[in-house]
């Protein structure tokens, strides 16, 4: 596992991985869409329950990608590992996109169910803060010319933002919110029937594999770009 931390070994080990993951993600997404639209409507929420199949996986990924970015930032900051820094940088725009999707689809679900597009309650606000952490991370990296300094500053910000993850997760338990409490990962089992849970889980796996395909591709691009920059710098220095 740690052998992969070497950029060259990572590049050779992951040469075919994006294509394999991409095909798997495509098949899983197709199955998820089919199951999502053949599932029965909910007795209380009607057809709006189908929004759950795109909203909940996006929300799961918004947290999981930030956790991955935070973990990679820790390794980049403590062990000064360039591949970990590349992994953190590559994860940020993908995580930001999933968080934006969670906010938008949540708003589209909230309007018919709660009667409002937005409410400044704990869950919605903490997810908005998560989105701002992603944007802040990318803005900070873009604002500092020195790649190493930018990486270190952004890693510190990413680590600080990790504190928001349990706040997002447990906001529905700690405060009174419009948002429903956890209904899949609960001590006494999922609070939904199999015909709704199955498409949700298939979409959850599909989004995860989709993210993995994009992340590996983006890390490989980052490694190639850094190698190209280093070679160009060496050539300019020798000229």
């Amino acid at each position: 596992m740690f052998g992969l931390a070497n950029p060259q070994r990572f590049m050779s080990a992951t040469r075919r991985l994006p294509a394999v993951l991409g095909v798997a993600a495509g098949l899983l997404l197709a199955a998820g869409v089919w199951l999502g639209f053949t599932a029965p409507e909910d007795y209380q929420q009607g057809d709006t329950v189908r929004i759950m199949f795109v909203h909940v996986p996006a929300s799961w990924l918004s947290l999981a990608v930030y956790a991955a970015m935070g973990g990679a930032s820790f390794f980049a900051l403590v062990f000064r590992h360039p591949l970990a820094d590349a992994a953190a940088r590559a994860a940020a725009p993908i995580g930001a996109a999933f968080t934006a999707l969670a906010l938008i689809t949540g708003s589209l679900w909230g309007r018919p169910m709660w009667g409002t597009w937005w409410e400044w309650d704990a869950r919605l606000t903490s997810v908005l803060v998560l989105f701002l952490f992603y944007l802040g991370y990318m803005a900070l990296r873009a604002s500092i010319d020195d790649e190493q300094k930018a990486g270190r500053a952004a890693a510190v910000l990413a680590l600080a933002g990790l504190i928001n993850l349990p706040i997002v997760k447990f906001s529905v338990d700690w405060w009174n919110t419009l948002h429903q409490p956890a209904s899949v990962f609960r001590a006494d089992g999922p609070a939904m029937t199999a015909d709704i849970l199955t498409p949700l889980l298939v979409m959850g796996v599909a989004y995860t594999v989709f993210f993995a395909a994009l992340w590996v591709t983006a890390i490989r691009a980052e490694v190639n770009q850094r190698r190209a920059n280093a070679l160009a710098l060496r050539a300019a220095g020798g000229a």
Partner: protein, 51 residues
């Protein structure tokens, strides 16, 4: 068979799925174009013909 009649909720269900598909397609396009650009830059820096 899939049930595509969302009734009164179509105005919320279809945009939610549509925006998800759009954003995911944009992500694929963005990551792939960045990967192609980086590969071209590396090929150029190594003195290989990027075409």
């Amino acid at each position: 068979m899939p049930d595509l009649n969302m009734g009164e909720y179509g105005a919320y269900v279809w945009p939610a799925w549509g925006v998800s598909a759009l954003v995911m397609a944009a992500l694929v396009w963005s990551v792939l174009s960045k990967a192609r650009k980086a590969k071209r830059a590396l090929d150029q820096a190594e003195g290989r013909d990027p075409s």
